[in-house]
Each structure stands twice: as structure tokens, then as C-alpha cells.
Point group: C2
Chain length 410, copies 2
């Protein structure tokens, strides 16, 4: 008998019928002899409805009250799901964040879980009941209701799995697992049977947004086996664990992530002095522009070229900021391009395999795709290319690294 | 500086604009130097929406989960109202039932308040903040969310006023006070400046449903001055207190209540033996039929006629029950009439005034209205008449007891 934490997102509980389907699935797991803790989000659309009400009152609603407001969304779902389970003669009990003993800090709208008092949940599990917990919410030391921020239900699921020492945290979504790349771009993209936390982190931050990045970090930190499954189609999904599956021949690269909406800006001929990077990026981050890749090459005659990428929607604003500081910096000029894309290959396998980078560059060269920027981490190589080559690049790399060919083995 | 508990019902907080209007009113009270505790209901329509969701899942939803579900309605309102107050630079803090320390028994969907831990609310008041409390809800000893049943927000308001020793509990509704009778029937009906708890109880149970009867009982028990006011129109409303206003010349009768949807049933020629009343009413109450008036006259030749009234919608069902037991009881026959109405005069003044009953009967006789049944309590006389005379009877009594003439003195 195992203990599973099953997390269902907003789409999976988006209507009464879908809540009934979740109840069927939970009961099936329970009937197989397993203990189940269910974590649910607000029904899809509900959070937006509540945010809409708040914004009619104030452009900047009080954070504490925003949390009190938003927490009702999940509270509705836990009550409805528990009723649906009762109706199936499957004893269940709902827990709001505070009832579940989920203690957070006091950072309203983006609180972090500090501790979970699992006593009352364990009592219900021991009594043979399914425990249904409101995701995304908790309570601080002063009994204020807090929320973990959007998508925080994944984090709740993982945190509960860690605190309850669950055998697996199963994240049910509208996709049936994590793919080697976006199947809309590469029809040959495969569902991965298994992937490591590190790989998931690199992929999540690069655009394969199946899971909240915080939840993956959390799962990695506490070594909670995480499984992504579809709440609509039966299947094994993708298991995310600390170490790759040693029993199978792992491909060097696990997956290919990409990001279309990028733009790059270069400030050319900057005198290469200490502190210059922060003098460039300081005003940018002060304007709340998020910077992604940062590339600086070695200097030539005491001058260097400083390049970084930002989301395409921030391009013009950032360009204006840079032009305003060019003279002060003693730089030559600002160049920009908002028609670029980023492609990354990700895999723990590249740690032990030489020549991965050159194989990537060869594959792109074979398609005459020019590489504009390169940036690497231990398990990832990212390149920036002209946007129009994006699909071609992803397909070429998917094939070059043998991802098309590997059979599903889960 | 006084402490006021202000309770706003579902209609008063039924839209964002109305919540803004409530915030204006609360701020005005606060700016006059008073402390304010606000109790709010769910936005009108919200409770029905939630009940609808539950009923799609189960015809008999789990009571505990029903409470968890419904409690979200008020939680949304407290958050929105607190935001609206903040926006007006009026510091405020929302409290759900459990945050407000409202402890109830465990009778889900109809819980009773047992105790209120006012510590944290008093702390907020001392810090100059408005306290905004979710009505209708509480928490039991095991931290389960409970609700007080429909309309329970009035009870929350009164209970908080009692616990906090407030100077007045102000119930804001969509009417501007308690009237001597229904103004739709008698255009001369006046708003009463003051009325006693006992009178309100007799009127509430007779159809002038401005306030929840439980809330009035509670206010009477703890002697909390209660004021009914309009949330849409400024005015003094009606003050409900333990003793009538001694400073003004009170009319003998305070108001005239009536109930249109009545029906009466008589079981004729019942042998007048001990236990016969319970043998008649036992099967009726077992069928969940609520009995209103019960009249039994003295017996003649060992036989008596037993009459009672029930809601018109229960008439046929009750008739069938009685016909089924006629033979067993040794009774002669069952008579019934579902076209009757009940009219009552209510007033603490009748305690000290003789001749009130005869004045009532004279007034009805003058209009040739036949009285079918009479029932009295210490501060109330009720008669049953043919339904078609209802409006005529109410107008005649309103005038006969001088209610048309008395000037408003609040």
C-alpha cells in the first residue's frame, strides 16, 4: 500500500463533470488499496473572476485581502470534490490551507511554505479517508491567510508529499507528460518516460511550462518523486527523479526547449572597466525588465561588446534606456534585433559526453542556420538564431540527437 | 466615542457599487469618531450559485462540506469591503469566522454560536482599524468550518455586539425600518421609531420578516440594542430594545401582522380523552408539516373539536393524514378550508389595557368580517378569517387602533 499525493490543476477541475471525473480517478486509486491526498486548484476561470472583482475596487488591492479573496477559489473546489467522493461512498475530508496546517511566511500573494503540521491529515488517512487539500494557500503565524502565488498548487502538492513522506507526487495536467520538444513543432517529439529534476528545471525555465519551476526545485530538494500525468487520458506520464534511469540507454540529450518571443540588444564598444555590466543592467532592471541571456566576449583594445536578451515586448523600452546611457558609458552605439529566437538542448547526459556542442553546431550549420549568440550551463547549451529558422533548428536538433528514433520505454 | 456593529445583508453588498457604498457609510461612521465592526453576508446570488454547484454533485451534499463551500461567499465580501476601505484610507482588516474566534457547536448548516474570543478583534479596534467580519459562519472545537444557517449573519452581528459590548447593533437592510403593518396593504402604515424585542418576535414569526427571529431572541437575551436601517436611504430606522420608549405616548398596539398562505383543518367529534392531541399531531409532525395555531374548545357530551392551521402548501397532505386516523380516534369527520388568512395585533401595551380584544372584534364586526378562530398570547391576539377579507381587516384594525394617526417621533 502506497501513499500518493495527486494534484489536479484548474482545467482538471474546471467544471462539475471534470470534478466528477477526478472523483472517479481518486476512488479508483483508493480502491486499489492506496492512501490518497488530493491537492486541487480553483476551478479554471474562478481566480480570474475574483481578481476582476478586486480590480474593480482598487488597481492595487491590499495584498492581505487579496489572499483572503483568492483563497476562496480552492476552498470551493475542495468542498465540491469531497462531496463527489462521499457520493461514491469514498469517505473524504476537505482541508483549507490553515486546516491542513500549512504554515507560511507572511509575504502575501507570494508566501513560502515554512512548515506543515501533518497531524490531522495523518489522522484522517489512518481512519481510511481521502484527504482533499486546497492548493496554493496557507496561513502565517498570526493566522492571516496567505497564498503562494499563481500556480502554487504544484508547490503545495510537492510540499505535502515531502511532509507526509509520500511514495509519489502525481501532477495531473492537460498534457500526458513531458515531451522531448513541442510536438506542434516536431511531430516526432516523444513523451519522456523519465527525466531528472535538473533537466526539468532547465526545460521549464526555457518554455516547456508543464510544471511550476518552484515545485520542481522543491521536489528536487526533498527528493520527492514527481510524476506528470494527464487527467483526461490514462497513461504512465513522465517520472521526474533525482537521478536518471540507469537501466536504460539514455540519449545524451533529453529534450529541446525553445523560446520564440525573444529580442536581443547589444551595446557596442563599451570601455571594459570594472562595474560596467552593472551600470548597463542596473537601469534595465530598475525598469522591471527581465533579462534572460547575458553574453560578453573578451575585450579588444580595451573595449567590449555587451549583449543580452529580453522579452520581445520589452524591446523598445530597453532600447530607449540603453540609448540614454550610451554616452555616459563612453560606448559607441546600441544595436538591437527583435526577430530572434532561442533554442536549447538539455540533458544530464552531456556531462559525460564530449562533443555535444560541436554536434549541435554541426547540425545547425548543415541547415545553414547562423548562430548569433551562445550560452552554456552544465547540462544545457542555448543558442540565439534568426526567428524564422526556429522550427527548422528544433527539428534538425531533435533528429541529430537521436530523439526521433528512441522508443518509448515506460 | 461609541462602538457600533453594522450588519449588511446580501442585497446591500450585492455588487461592487453597493460594496463601495457600504465602504462610504462605514468610513463616515468611523470619521465621526466611532469604532466600527462590520458584519457582511455573501453578495446576493452567490449563496444560490454555490448551492447550485453542490446540488449538481449530490441531492444531499455532505453537511460539513456544504459549510466549507458556503463559507466562501462571505469570505469574498469581507476581502472586497476591506479593500474598498483601504482605498478610502480607512484602515480595515477582514476576519473569517474562525479568524474572528467565533466558536460554534458542530451542527453543520445550522450551528449555534457558543463563544466568541474577541481578543484579536479588540486589538484591531484599539489600533484604530475597522474590523470586517464574515457573517453566518464559525468554527467548531475540531476546527471544522460551520455555518449558522440562512440569514445567520444577523445572529453573527448581534452575537458580536453582545461579546464586544457594543453600544448598538445596526442591521442594514433594503427597508428603512419596521412598519406598523405592510405598507403595500395599508398605505398609512408608519415606520415605528421603537419597538420591543417581544413585539418584534411576535411580528417576525407572523410575517413581517425584516430580521431573523434567532437574532432578535439573541439580542433580547443579551439586551443588545438593535436598530434596523436602510442601506440605501439615510434615516433613523427602528430601534428594538428591551423596554418600550417610556417617554412617548405609546399606542396600545404596536403593529399588525398577517399571514396569507394559511389553511385550517378540524377533526370533529373527537372523544375528549387524555393524549388525544398528541395522537392527532404526532403523525402530522412526523410528516414534517409545521403546525401554526392550535385551538381546542371545551368539550360537549365528552366530545371535542380539534382545529389547527398549517401552511397552505401542506393542506392536502395533512388532510389525508387526518382522514387516515379518524376512525382510530373515534372521531366523526375531518373538515378543512384552505382559503383562510391570519391577522394578529401585537403590542406590549395590551398587557395594561383592558378591552383590546373587544375593540379588535368590534372593528372586524363593523366590516361584517366573521372570525373563525381566535388565539391569544400575552402581547398578541390572532384571528383567522376568510382570505378575501384580509386587506379589509388589516386596514380596519390599523385605523381602529390609531396607528394611522400617530406621528413619527424618532
Amino acid at each position: 500500500m502506497a501513499l500518493y499525493v495527486q494534484k489536479y490543476g484548474g482545467t482538471s477541475v474546471g467544471s462539475i463533470e471534470r470534478i466528477e471525473a477526478v472523483a472517479d480517478r481518486v476512488k479508483k486509486t483508493r480502491d486499489s488499496g492506496h492512501d490518497v491526498v488530493v491537492v486541487v486548484s480553483a476551478m479554471s476561470g474562478e481566480t480570474n473572476r475574483l481578481v476582476g472583482l478586486a480590480q474593480q475596487i482598487s488597481p492595487e488591492p491590499t495584498p492581505r485581502e487579496m489572499d483572503t479573496l483568492l483563497a476562496t477559489g480552492e476552498q470551493v473546489t475542495i468542498a465540491l470534490l469531497s462531496m463527489a467522493l462521499h457520493r461514491r461512498d469514498c469517505p473524504a475530508r476537505s482541508f483549507t490551507g490553515w486546516q491542513a496546517g500549512i504554515k507560511t511566511d507572511s509575504a502575501h500573494t507570494k508566501a513560502r511554505i515554512q512548515q506543515i503540521d501533518v497531524g490531522s491529515m495523518q489522522q484522517e488517512l489512518a481512519a481510511g479517508r481521502v484527504v482533499v487539500v486546497a492548493g496554493f494557500q496557507g496561513v502565517d503565524d498570526a493566522d492571516n491567510i496567505t497564498t503562494l502565488g499563481r500556480g502554487g498548487s504544484d508547490t503545495t502538492g510537492v510540499a505535502l508529499a515531502a511532509a507526509l513522506k509520500a511514495d509519489e507526487c502525481q501532477i495531473y495536467t492537460d498534457v500526458d507528460g513531458v515531451y522531448t520538444t513541442d510536438p506542434r513543432v516536431v511531430p516526432e517529439a516523444r513523451r519522456m518516460a523519465q527525466v531528472t529534476f535538473e533537466e526539468m528545471l532547465e526545460m521549464a525555465s526555457l518554455g516547456s511550462k508543464v510544471l511550476q519551476i518552484r515545485a520542481v526545485e522543491f521536489a528536487g530538494k526533498y527528493n520527492v518523486p514527481l510524476r506528470v500525468l494527464s487527467s483526461f487520458v490514462d497513461g504512465p506520464g513522465t517520472l521526474i527523479t533525482l537521478e536518471g534511469d540507469e537501466t536504460m540507454e539514455k540519449p545524451v540529450i533529453s529534450g529541446i526547449a525553445f523560446n520564440r518571443d525573444e529580442s536581443k540588444l547589444s551595446i557596442m564598444g563599451v570601455p571594459d572597466l570594472p562595474g560596467v555590466a552593472s551600470r548597463i543592467l542596473g537601469p534595465v532592471s530598475a525598469a522591471n525588465v527581465e533579462v534572460d541571456m547575458i553574453v560578453q566576449n573578451i575585450s579588444e583594445e580595451g573595449n567590449t561588446d555587451f549583449t543580452f536578451t529580453v522579452h520581445r515586448s520589452d524591446f523598445r523600452r530597453t532600447q530607449t534606456i540603453l540609448e540614454g546611457i550610451t554616452e555616459d558609458l563612453g560606448a559607441r552605439e546600441v544595436l538591437g534585433d527583435d526577430r530572434i529566437a532561442k533554442v536549447s538542448i538539455v540533458g544530464v547526459g552531456m556531462r559525460s559526453h564530449a562533443g555535444v556542442a560541436s554536434r549541435m553546431f554541426d547540425a545547425l550549420a548543415a541547415e545553414s542556420i547562423n548562430i548569433q549568440l551562445i550560452s552554456t550551463s552544465e547540462i544545457k547549451i542555448s543558442v540565439v538564431i534568426e526567428e524564422k529558422y526556429l522550427e527548422l533548428a528544433v527539428r534538425a536538433l531533435h533528429s541529430a540527437f537521436g530523439l526521433d528514433a528512441v522508443e518509448e520505454t515506460a
